[in-house]
Symmetry: C2
Subunit: 191 residues, 2 copies
DNA sequence: GTCTATATCCAGATAGAC
DNA sequence: GTCTATCTGGATATAGAC
């Protein structure tokens, strides 16, 4: 049997899962609390037993999405050559973005009216940056400029794909060439 | 004296200008028609003499922003070396994005609830693509993949700047290095 | 064209009984 | 914790007089 706190947390997870489903179905984050309540089988005011406000729900989604992002990037294989690792990381990132447009919007664009992530939720996003910096260091890439150009490049491919051809592969299919360009640039002195 | 149609168009321009001001001040595109009306000195329903709906206003803003974008990119100097031209184009694009975050959101992210640009407004955006393709051809860049990677790279720099450090220059300051990377890549066979 | 008045609809959030 | 009822506040859009 679950204890009371565990039940409470389980209910919170179910609410957040319903929010993700609604957002994906509608293609936007503008779901109403009434819809959320209906999706989990309660009345709207009951949600306030689990979240203090709608922004608290967005915050939980933001944290949830960043945990998924961290998990995904952790599982990128790093056993091959530096170029293999870069390609795997770029492909994983772009796939993560493209497979869920509303998650991408919540995590990487800052576009919801009055919502600002809490420090706790934001810290998870910081963990991903740290992970990337560590992995790049292992590849011999230490220049902060290179890291910034990397994030611009791969997030740019994902964003162009989502904005101009959602569901397609015109930009996401350029990931190999883009990584080649980047690797040529950062490894040029060593060859 | 202005004719009646010219007056009407002038009033439309004033309304759109007020919308841009409001959006910039509030940092978002969620202004209300009541605010717009107050800004131009009329009551809200009077706006319907000039625009059929709020989405029609967004559409006019979208067209207006794309005209400004086209104008800006047209004035990029192309008299220097190919690398100079690329750098000037990238810098102009990023400056255009960063100087007006809400315009960037309207033009390049697709994030307003029920708004889809009309074909007429969208055609202006297409003109910019055409301009870019022509200029790239003059530089000897014909591969569509290179054009896609270019847009991903420069729009990625701008988007990262806006999302993570609005008002700063951490990513926009990497434009020279990024263009160097890109130019090395697309011109590599020629050197 | 512009106005006042209003229709219509919806949102997030709270009060208080059970 | 959950419910019903309600508060409070907004939005876009229309009707119809002037």
């Amino acid at each position: 049997m679950l204890g009371k706190d565990a039940r409470h947390e389980q209910a919170q997870r179910e609410i957040i899962a319903a929010c993700w489903r609604l957002a994906r179905d509608e293609g936007r984050l503008g779901f109403s609390l009434k819809e959320v309540a209906a999706a989990v089988g309660v009345q709207a005011p009951s949600l306030y037993s689990y979240f203090a406000s709608k922004n608290a729900i967005y915050d939980a989604m933001f944290a949830d999405g960043n945990r998924a992002f961290l998990e995904r990037m952790r599982t990128v294989p790093t056993s091959g050559s530096p170029r293999d690792t870069l390609l795997a990381a770029a492909a994983a990132f772009i796939e993560f973005c493209v497979e869920d447009p509303v998650r991408h919007q919540l995590l990487f664009e800052r576009t919801i009216a009055g919502f600002e992530p809490s420090p706790a939720a934001y810290a998870i996003a910081g963990d991903v940056i740290e992970l990337m910096r560590d992995e790049f260091a292992k590849l011999g890439i230490h220049d902060p400029a290179h890291l910034d150009i990397w994030t611009a490049l791969v997030s740019g491919l994902a964003a162009q794909q989502l904005a101009n051809e959602p569901g397609g592969s015109r930009w996401s299919g350029r990931v190999a060439a883009s990584v080649e360009m980047f690797a040529d640039f950062v490894f040029k002195e060593e060859s």
